[in-house]
């Protein structure tokens, strides 16, 4: 074998080559792999989707109205339809308050008690004020969850969102 003039230089070059090769190969494939793996932390905020509840004029002032609707929910690559309900209240037919239909205690569906004029949850007797959502009695840790609304061309829309149940703070899930 022809010995190179400076074996020391040659060996240094080969060691350097090994380092470059190993780091380069690892980085070329590793960076996309790592980025993809930690992709959820770059999570984009889910776009707010407005659900049409109906013509604003049709909601009775002073009497809360329950609206059920189905929403297409995308969970990663799985699309499904979920049923939700909300309660719509208005004092003047112009300004609307929309509550999530789930009790803040354990997530049961509550009903409107016409005689007592309050929301009543059948599970543990939680009671709420229909105008403000404030807790009037029972175990619920916080007022009803109020949802964002808008009126567009005479139609009432709500941005439906679920909140954690059983906590004093309103925490979106």
């Amino acid at each position: 074998m022809v010995q190179p003039a400076e074996p020391g230089t040659r060996r240094r070059f080969l060691k350097w080559l090994t380092g470059i090769g190993a780091i380069g190969s690892a980085a070329l494939a590793g960076i996309p792999a790592l980025r993809a793996f930690i992709s959820p932390i770059f999570g984009r905020a889910a776009p707010q989707s407005w659900v049409k509840l109906g013509e604003a004029d049709l909601f009775d002032p002073d009497v809360p109205t329950k609206v059920d609707f189905a929403q297409t929910v995308t969970d990663a690559w799985v699309e499904s339809r979920e049923l939700h309900s909300v309660w719509v209240t208005t004092a003047d037919g112009e300004h609307f308050t929309v509550f999530s239909g789930r009790c803040t205690h354990l997530g049961c569906s509550f009903a409107y008690d016409k005689a007592q004029k309050r929301f009543q949850c059948p599970c543990h007797q939680g009671m709420f004020d229909p105008k403000t959502g404030a807790v009037l009695g029972g175990p619920p840790p916080r007022p009803l969850d109020q949802l964002e609304t808008k009126i567009d061309k005479g139609d009432l829309y709500v941005a439906y969102q679920d909140f954690r149940v059983g906590t004093a703070q309103k925490i979106a899930v």
Partner: protein, 487 residues
């Protein structure tokens, strides 16, 4: 360094270093000797990219395709990752075949490396198994139909063919059970088998040393390796070649690392430039789809087209089996001590015939290839769209119009017409083109030529043509309709 010494005292790191890195290897190793380590590098890349892909993949016909689209569209670097895995798979097949050819050409499967050759043949088969199980997973048209054909080839096995197909598919039909089965093999069984056999393969290489160049082992050698004098001759000749040799580290590893980096670079560049294909979702009812396997299965695919039908099952089963048996038996019937390929005429002719034949068959298959990518809307065609596609054929639309590279050029290419016009516009146009373009050569297809129902089917099909999947354009049109003709 304190930690190194602490570990060294307990694990004898210096001994490992002497045995692994400082060992002498024969002189004049060529660049061809880097193919094995390059294959290993690509395997490691497949493991890493595969693990991350598996975290986003749902092995069920309901969700497989959607989860792959999720990777392509929603996961950061997801489409690049999938493309690296796709091209890595091809690279692995290329490298492992090149490695086999190199080992074959220098007769390195002969004494004393027969056993490691067998391990290598198993590794080759496992890699092909990875390819076969891997391309079903996206559950697109190619996945479905190529696997339908592939499993049918298993059915050509004499006597037990029926059982083989059922076992491969996990049932009589290709479906959910096939997908989980292929997935389990792709991510659990095969990696385990490959990992163990790679370790054995490497351990034996370290134990026996790298095979020297043929000339070193030919001078004064007994004619056959079965000759009782051969082992002694071999030991002496090999020791001689090692005395003139170099250190494994960094002389050999440096070359290996350089070639590995080049290979990874090529894979990533291919991935960036070409991406990974994803056709329309699997549609078991689509009888018009022409399945084509991955390129490395094309020789067999093309060969099956050439033989008469009566011989088909014989060839489908016989040719791969004969190749595998030949590879496994090779070190046992070829016991002559000549190693240089030029002094082994039978081996040389065999190699040229197999490689040349495969190359010619791949070439023929590529030349006969239809459109590489069928149009897609990202979902199976509806029954109306399928009816429209049938009308598109039967009404001779392809005589003037091209879709995905097939058809005439009298009229405009319609491959992505759905991006430019709505189904309603297309309906009106097909019904009476002269209303839109007075003097057009296109005949009117309004009643009585086609009923409105048929025109609507045709329009729905045309509206589904959105160009190749890579484009992913959203339709953009502002259709204008000329005034309706006065009654």
């Amino acid at each position: 360094m304190g930690l190194t010494r602490w570990l060294d005292e307990r694990l004898d790191l210096a001994g490992i270093r002497r045995g692994l890195l400082d060992r002498e290897v024969p002189d004049r190793l060529t660049w061809w000797h880097t193919l094995g380590s390059a294959t290993l590098t690509v395997f490691l890349i497949q493991v890493i990219t595969g693990i991350v892909l598996a975290t986003y993949y749902a092995p069920s016909p309901d969700h497989a395709y959607e989860s792959i689209r999720f990777v392509d569209r929603q996961v950061a670097s997801g489409s690049l990752l999938r493309a690296i895995h796709h091209w890595g798979a091809s690279a692995m097949v290329v490298l492992i075949i090149a490695h086999v050819v190199r080992v074959f050409s220098v007769g390195a499967y002969k004494y004393p490396r027969e056993a490691n050759w067998l391990v290598g043949v198993v590794l080759l088969l496992v890699v092909l198994g990875f390819s076969f199980t891997g391309y079903l997973l996206p559950w697109d048209q190619k996945a479905y139909w190529a696997t339908a054909v592939g499993t049918n080839i298993g059915g050509t096995t004499p006597v037990v063919g029926g059982y083989v197909v059922t076992l491969l598919r996990g049932g009589a039909e290709l479906g959910a059970a096939t997908l989980t089965r292929f997935y389990a093999f792709h991510v659990l069984w095969l990696p385990m088998v490959l990992g163990v056999f790679v370790l054995v393969h490497l351990a034996v290489v370290i134990r026996q040393g790298i095979a020297p160049l043929p000339a070193t082992l030919e001078q004064g050698a007994p004619a056959r390796t079965t000759d009782p004098r051969y082992p002694a001759y071999y030991r002496a000749a090999y020791a001689g070649s090692k005395r003139r040799g170099v250190r494994f580290w960094p002389d050999i590893i440096g070359k290996d690392a350089a070639v590995s980096l080049a290979v990874v670079l090529v894979i990533v560049l291919l991935a960036l430039a070409l991406g990974a294909p994803l056709e329309a979702p699997a549609d078991p009812s689509d009888t018009a789809y022409v399945p084509r396997p991955e390129w490395y299965f094309l020789p067999l695919y093309q060969l099956l087209k050439l033989v008469p039908g009566s011989l088909e099952s014989l060839v489908a089963f016989g040719v791969p089996t004969a190749l595998i048996v030949t590879l496994l038996a090779l070190p046992f019937f070829d016991t002559r001590s000549k190693r240089n390929l030029l002094r082994r005429p039978v081996a040389l002719v065999g190699l040229v015939v197999i490689l040349g034949g495969s190359g010619l068959l791949i070439g023929a298959a590529v030349r006969q290839a239809g459109p590489a990518v069928p149009p897609e809307v990202g979902r199976p065609l509806t029954s109306r769209e399928r009816a429209g596609r049938a009308l598109f054929q039967s009404e001779q639309c392809t005589g003037c119009h091209t879709v995905a590279g097939k058809g005439g050029n009298q009229g405009p290419d319609l491959s992505d017409i759905g991006l430019h016009h709505s189904a309603a516009w297309l309906h009106s146009y097909v019904e009476d083109p002269s209303r839109f373009h007075p003097g057009t050569k296109m005949p009117s297809f309004g009643p009585p030529t086609l009923s409105h129902e048929e025109i609507e089917e045709l329009a729905q099909y045309l509206s589904s043509l959105r160009g190749p999947p890579g484009k992913r354009a959203e339709p953009q049109y502002a259709d204008t309709f000329p005034e309706a003709p006065k009654p």
